[in-house]
């Protein structure tokens, strides 16, 4: 998809007004349709409410509507003339930390909702911390319910300062704050005569204008082989052998020297083939077939990388692990680790510490990780994986762990 798409995640506590904000954004940008809005109104009236409960637009499951809570990440879409947006809406409940981890993994920006009456609470810190941990470097703090604090500049400034201090501690992130009333519409898509002291952009303007660095193209070239292409001989291709996959990062030109890992064999790219013909150069996110100068033993899961900036094969490494399943982590149990297009047998042999996501303190010693726990662990794999540190490259630094039921039980980020 094009770079004009901004993928963002939204995090907030149960009553911070997150659904109201998303509902308003959707309705005011025509990302929600009249019949769906009408449906939400009917559902609300059936429950004895009045008007539209925006949460009913986004809570897609019966169980969610019955219990009035959001259980699972929901994806929502809207567009303005400037940008297309994909919202990965993460539920705010404590037990659903894993949903925020999931939604943040594919997002470039996080909108953190804060109730102006409560200020920055433990949960707000936790949301920001997890989003930052997953590599998000652009934050919009929406200080909501300004109508309930008389649109007080002081209340806003206090929270803004608290948040800025906290984000500075995390480091490397760009943070914007905007005072809003999602319920009454102030500074979401419309300006607010009630907050004349605020001269900054409205929330939607921020979302439309924040520049997301196109890091993926500037990074070192990484290409995980999905499939080896050996079509039957034809006059045009008497003996074709190509490696199909998606450019995870960087770019590649015909003639570039590359290294194939984990074998370490070196060769050069002789062609970049696509359905629409041959290319001279391919960029991050493009799916292409590469042909190489030498006949090498290459199969699915191998990584073709820049010869000058190669990643390293590892069988032992440290990682930050987010545990996502009710079945807890067992040390030295055989799991499957899936990284890029490669799957290897792996064990977790030590937990260095567990992160208390509320206090950000490191707890040790610990002997297990349970659902929603985040910890630093040591992993051993039976076959090498070829990786970069997660903070350098999200595509080659992230992995998932499957147990014997094939369930994804954890997500991990490789450390430097």
């Amino acid at each position: 998809m094009s770079i004009h798409v901004l993928r963002f995640t939204t995090a907030g506590n149960v009553d911070d007004g997150k659904s109201t904000l998303i509902g308003r954004l959707l309705v005011e940008t025509q990302g929600a349709f009249e019949d769906q809005i009408e449906g939400a109104r009917r559902d609300n009236e059936r429950r004895g409410g009045h008007g539209i409960d925006f949460a009913l637009l986004t809570d897609g499951l019966k169980a969610e509507r019955e219990q009035g809570i959001t259980i699972d990440v929901a994806y929502r879409y809207f567009a303005t003339p400037k940008r297309k947006f994909i919202i990965a809406d993460a539920p705010g409940h404590e037990q659903y930390t894993r949903n925020l981890v999931t939604s943040a993994s594919t997002s470039d920006l996080a909108v953190i909702l804060v109730d102006a009456r409560n200020g920055m609470m433990t949960q707000s810190r936790r949301h920001a911390f997890i989003a930052h941990l997953l590599g998000i470097r652009h934050f919009v703090v929406a200080i909501n319910k300004m109508d309930l604090v008389d649109f007080s500049k002081d209340a806003y400034e206090k929270i803004r300062k608290d948040f800025s201090d906290f984000m500075n501690r995390l480091g490397g992130a760009e943070t914007y704050c905007v005072p809003i009333s999602a319920l009454e519409g102030d500074l979401v898509t419309e300006s607010s005569p009630r907050m004349p002291w605020y001269n900054g952009p409205k929330l939607l303007e921020l979302l439309e204008s924040i520049q997301i660095d196109e890091l993926a193209n500037k990074q070192a070239f990484r290409f995980s082989v999905q499939l080896v292409s050996r079509p039957p001989a034809s006059p045009e291709f008497p003996d074709f052998r190509g490696y199909m996959g998606r450019v995870a990062s960087g770019s590649i030109r015909v003639g570039d020297r590359v290294v194939v890992l984990p074998s370490g064999a070196r060769t050069a790219v002789t062609g970049i083939v696509t359905r629409d013909g041959r290319l001279e150069e391919a960029f991050a996110r493009q799916s292409v077939t590469l042909t190489l100068a030498d006949d090498l033993d290459i199969s699915r899961g191998d990584l073709i990388a820049s010869e000058t900036q190669p990643p390293q094969p590892h069988t032992e490494f440290r990682a930050t692990l987010c545990w996502m399943n009710e079945r807890r982590l067992h040390l030295n149990h055989r799991y499957v680790l899936r990284h890029t297009t490669r799957s290897v047998r792996a064990i977790v042999n030590e937990i260095d510490y567990r992160l208390n996501v509320n206090t950000l303190e490191r707890e040790s010693p610990v002997s297990e990780l349970q659902t929603n726990d985040i910890g630093q662990v040591r992993i051993k794999t039976l076959q090498p994986i070829v990786c970069d540190p997660y903070n350098v490259n999200r595509q080659t630094g992230g992995f998932i762990i499957l147990d014997e039921t094939n369930d994804t039980v954890a997500a991990g980020m490789i450390q430097a």
Binding site: L57, G60, I71, V101, T102
Partner: protein, 229 residues
């Protein structure tokens, strides 16, 4: 639609397998007789589950998108179905980065939705950009329809006109294709791909509003739980 399907698969040299619930068809399955939920259950869900089982497929790839409907907004790209083809939203696997788990055990199957994050407008922009052939029903044309519960239902052979219903010749097109008489048309003059892209960008009513099967007591979530896409 069926003519297009047959010709297109032939032109690309693909092997087309058609599987229908012949018993239900022989018994005269029709929404007026069975009700919409049961008719759908027999002709769509049961036929799909039989076919998956008969050919022992591990996965079925579908074009469903999260934007279409609120339970589909919660769907995974790799959606796990149990031995009965059923969807359990609480048993779905987390999907991070571009890492997916398509692994299954005996009896389980996968439904895979590669277009999950596309919108109706994305689809039509892509069709325009790549000049992909589509079923002519997507383009506006004067067609005979009847108004029923606010929907414009095609007045074809399979249609049983109710008392007082009067077919009209209107310029209409279909945003989504399904069975007669459970899929309505929309009034439209969009005769080119450019027109459709413009219409998709300005739509005020959701794409599937004309799919009568989405409404009523048997919701999309219920149907998904029973084994539908």
């Amino acid at each position: 639609m069926i003519k297009f399907r047959d010709e297109f698969t032939k032109s690309i040299g693909a092997r087309l397998i058609v599987h229908r619930n012949e018993d239900a068809i022989a018994a005269g399955a029709h929404p007026l007789k069975l009700g919409i939920a049961r008719c759908c259950g027999q002709l769509k869900t049961a036929a799909l589950l039989h076919a998956l089982d008969k050919y022992q497929f591990d996965a079925a790839i579908g074009g469903a998108r999260r934007e279409e409907e609120r339970s589909r907004a919660k769907e995974r790209v790799f959606s796990l179905r149990d031995a009965f083809g059923q969807w359990d939203p609480r048993r779905q696997r987390p999907e991070l980065w571009s890492l997916y788990s398509g692994a299954i055990t005996e009896g389980e199957t996968m439904r895979v939705f590669p277009l999950s994050n596309w919108t109706e407008r994305d689809i039509w922009q892509y069709i325009l950009q790549e000049q992909i052939p589509v079923v002519p029903l997507y383009f506006a044309k004067e067609r005979l329809v009847v108004r029923r519960n606010g929907a414009l239902i095609p007045a074809g052979e399979a249609m049983h006109l109710k008392q007082g219903e009067q077919p009209e010749l209107l310029s209409v097109r279909f945003r989504t294709l399904g069975c007669v008489p459970c899929t309505g048309a929309v009034g439209s003059c969009a005769t080119t791909l450019e027109d459709i892209v413009a219409e998709a960008g300005a739509a005020k009513i959701s794409e599937r509003s004309t799919r009568i099967i989405d409404h009523g007591a048997n919701t999309m979530e219920d149907k998904k739980r029973e084994g539908y896409f």
